[in-house]
Symmetry: C2
Subunit: 558 residues, 2 copies
């Protein structure tokens, strides 16, 4: 019998920020009992995933081993950690563990998918222990930009692992638990930490992170100084920020209205799970219409410029009866995530055209990050004193930088990206296998593989346009009537000024006339010949090689 081993395998989140999915296993090789930590989504963009609704990790590896999965643990309720659980749970039907607030959000999702809500078990924080096969797992409260974020202590016969989750060192997070250095020291004192899997998001930020509580005074002063309507946007899940904004509004004698489904849902979930109390009274959009602008504050979704969120809607005009006007103020209490700049800037300019004053976080007064900066990471390394640091939750450049810091402090490390399986049994981490991983897309209501070619075809149509040619042939493989061409996403006229479709049809008819019987009788050869002519003529006429679909209908077949 083979010896037991402890393995770590990221399926998402290691080499990207988003779509977190980490697997731990313990047992004999290829018979390890597995737990999954987080199962999140990432968001599509027009450059690489046009039309896609959500991006999730490829979990084929897990599916093929589903009988070995003991449980799924969710560290917190951000979409990049919880977003795929309800989508995939039906394939595993294993227990899911989370703290109360996270479970509340998770159960809303399970309900929408028709899964039993009680599939998610609420776990109390450490010292409570969840037994999952060979693993003992504890939830350790950490501060982050959402309530009840947790690190996990994962014990097995091969040693203690700490999985940091997303965290920052906030001594006064306003909502939720502060960073507690003693609690972390106790974890290491109780049993030495073999390995720390650690958030790398802000490894390039050189200054210690700032507390959520530092925003209170600046936000209060800002909102008090405004005369028109004030509208503020932030991440819906940042419950502490919502509370700070709402309290600042209250101080300024403003009535509060939450715009956007996600925002109302988060506040309700936070109140229901007991992490939020004393949130000022809010009014509905209908009621808000009757409040004088100078006494009104909207807190709205869409800090990243999302097209359908409240911010973007307001930038296009009236939304739920509410409208921005000259002299109003729009506050981005948020940072633009790289890649979202175009959407955010377009909203800013639309507001500028309306005469709205825009306040963003260029001065660092109205937003703080939810992730640990470099000095904070170093603090956590010191407190937990792990032999090994494995960076996670970062693009490759973040992981590499984080590994460098750990190495310089004399710890072992390995830049471990999605699909790399580490054996953590021995003294040093060892890469033992490369698993084929990737992404799968939720597209409408179906899943599409990233390598299926479906999305590649969309991108090609968007870049090159599309030509469709239909030919009808009779029993003798002779054309019945003329070739018919439809173009889509291409200039209607060519450089000669003649309609492109007609030029293509004329060239195709000329081709058919001179094409021999052998080619006419062969679907593949005929398709190839038609395609070549279309691309050649299009190149001459409009300087582009379009995507081509050829439909040859043979009436003899009917």
């Amino acid at each position: 019998m083979k010896a037991n081993r402890l393995i770590y395998l990221p399926l998402g989140g290691a080499g990207e920020i988003g779509m977190n999915a980490y697997v731990y296993g313990y047992g004999p090789e290829d018979k390890e009992r597995l737990i999954v930590v987080d199962l999140g989504v990432t968001f599509p963009d027009m450059d690489t995933t046009p039309g896609v609704d959500l991006i999730m990790p490829d979990i084929s590896w897990l599916e093929a081993r589903k009988d070995r999965i003991e449980a799924i643990f969710i560290t917190h309720a951000h979409e990049d950690h919880i977003g795929a659980v309800a989508h995939f749970w039906g394939r595993f039907k294993c227990p899911v563990y989370a703290r109360r607030f996270t479970a509340t959000i998770g159960r809303l999702k399970f309900d929408e998918h028709g899964h039993p809500k009680d599939a998610i078990t609420v776990v109390e924080p450490r010292p409570a222990v969840v037994k999952a096969g060979p693993f003992d797992v504890q939830f350790v409260p950490v501060s982050h930009s959402i309530p009840e974020s947790s690190a996990l202590v994962i014990d097995s016969a091969a040693g203690r692992i700490v999985h940091s989750g997303d965290f920052k060192l906030d001594l006064q997070p306003l909502v939720g638990e502060p960073w507690d250095p003693e609690a972390f020291a106790a974890i290491a004192a109780e049993r030495p930490v073999k390995a720390l899997m650690c958030d790398s998001t802000n490894v390039f930020s050189r200054h210690p992170g700032r507390s959520e509580s530092t925003l209170r005074a600046p936000l209060r002063d800002l909102i008090k100084a405004q005369r028109g309507m004030v509208v503020a946007t932030t991440f819906a899940s940042n419950v502490a920020r919502l509370k700070t904004l709402a309290e600042a509004a209250q101080d300024a004698d403003r009535t509060i209205c939450l715009l956007g489904r996600a925002m109302r849902r988060m506040v309700t979930a936070a109140e229901q799970s007991g992490v939020l109390s004393g949130f000022p009274r809010t009014v509905s959009p209908e009621e808000a219409q009757d409040v004088p602008r100078g006494n009104l504050m909207l807190i709205v979704t869409g800090s990243q410029g999302e097209r359908r969120a409240a911010s973007a809607q307001l930038s296009r005009g009236k939304y739920l009866g509410l409208e921005m006007k000259e002299g109003d103020t729009f506050l981005f209490s948020s940072k633009t995530i790289p890649g979202n700049e175009r959407g955010v800037i377009s909203i800013m300019n639309a507001f500028s055209e309306m005469g709205v004053n825009i306040v963003d976080d260029n001065d660092g007064l109205y937003h703080v990050s939810g992730h640990a900066n470099r000095p904070d990471l170093e603090t956590v390394h010191k407190v937990l004193n792990p032999a090994i640091v494995i960076p996670m939750h970062g693009e490759h450049r973040h992981l590499r930088e984080h590994a460098r810091i750990a190495l310089e402090a004399g710890r072992m490390t390995e830049v471990t990206t999605n699909g790399m399986m580490l054996d953590l049994t021995g003294d040093a981490p060892e890469v033992v296998e490369y698993i084929e991983t990737g992404r799968s897309y939720l597209d409408g209501s179906v899943m599409v593989g990233a390598r299926d070619g479906v999305i590649r075809n969309r991108i090609r149509m968007a870049l090159n346009g599309h030509v469709l040619a239909t030919l009808i042939l009779d029993e003798a493989d002779e054309p019945l009537g003329d070739a018919w061409v439809e173009i889509s996403g291409l200039s209607e006229k060519g450089r000669t000024g003649a309609p492109l479709a007609e030029t293509l049809e004329a060239e195709l008819n000329a081709l058919l006339e001179k094409t021999g019987r052998k080619v006419m009788a062969d679907d593949d050869k005929l398709d190839e010949a038609v395609r070549r002519v279309i691309r050649q003529v299009a190149m001459e006429e409009i300087g582009k090689k379009p995507e081509v679909t050829v439909v040859v209908s043979r009436l003899s077949e009917g």
Copy 2:
């Protein structure tokens, strides 16, 4: 007879950063003689302009008045100022004026387009005067991130206008002329400045701008400290930066190789036009292969992550025989323009995977901007002391902020965006007309209007996928054989697991069977019915409503 008037009309660049095109006119209403200042391009993105090659201003208004155009003046050789001149010149065939370096670049473009090179006249700086109809125009040297950038003094009977062009206040720009406050004071002393049209790019930057010369020491220190190959990227047109980088390489005993056509072209043009001398010797990529890595420095194109530029090529592997390796250093001596983050980050991560050290400008050590910051703008306002400040070269939010500053200093101003015609004859600027403006796209070799629907169709295909249905009907409007469906950019299988195309075909055949003669005989109605079924079935099967092309072939017509 109507009185003469002085008009200003931006056709591009006012409400965006890019695609600059400003028109000035003097004369009786609708008979003004016109000059054009700059005619630039802007660059496409996948979100709004997939597959497009270049974006240019819609110049229909100018074309309709081409007999009234006296000349085109080009302030400097950046693509957003010069890029469309060669494309459009054939429609105007008017004189083009520029300083020597700008003319050198312009003539290369004219040559490529088959235009006569001598259509561009080289102009010496002020006090030299170009007479263009009712206008006397002088080129005033300003410092910017390209050699021989110029402001224009535009005199007419209605007063003196200064058109700032792109500029910064650099006392030691290394290449080209420094900011000369006395020369600017002299302009105002000679004749009061009625209006200043002014660059707004950096109006949100609160600190005074830094000189190009401040980069010398940090770049030299950085490059000296490296052991492996050093690769630096910056804008090809930033000749001063190229020189600083090359000299730093020389100091560190490194051989220099310029990678990327634009980079070699710029250095050659700068040498030919006399603005650059003493540039260190460079070697070809072939020669560079024989130089030890520790003694080699590449200066490459692609600071904005452009897919085909040298940076991106190197991030994908070998390029022209050269390859990045572990221990090499890649320096972004540049700032990422908002919207280009995704491309730049993807290059950074690819280099990280190779073990390459990445240095960017997060610390502000290795790049300075070419535009005047807020305090610098205020300085120029004071020195020229114009009655009116019209912000240009900015998004709406920049123009608005710039106008606010001018207003606070007691000057008149008007946020003037593309298509707004100002009458500057009287004491105060007056908006007299709104011209329909927009963008036109160079797509392959043809121009496509932004509102033609061509690009909209591409975006729709990319978001929704495409279904093509072909039907053949006989003389009696009865189907000949079955309907045929091809899908593109859509999941091959629906939620039932059956092939989507087959499900669609079956539903179409069912439709055709039950469809009455009247609809079968009517192309529009039949098209509509087919389309409806396809979208409905697709929605059920895959949760998406695709774009649909229906081809009905009626053999009776043949």
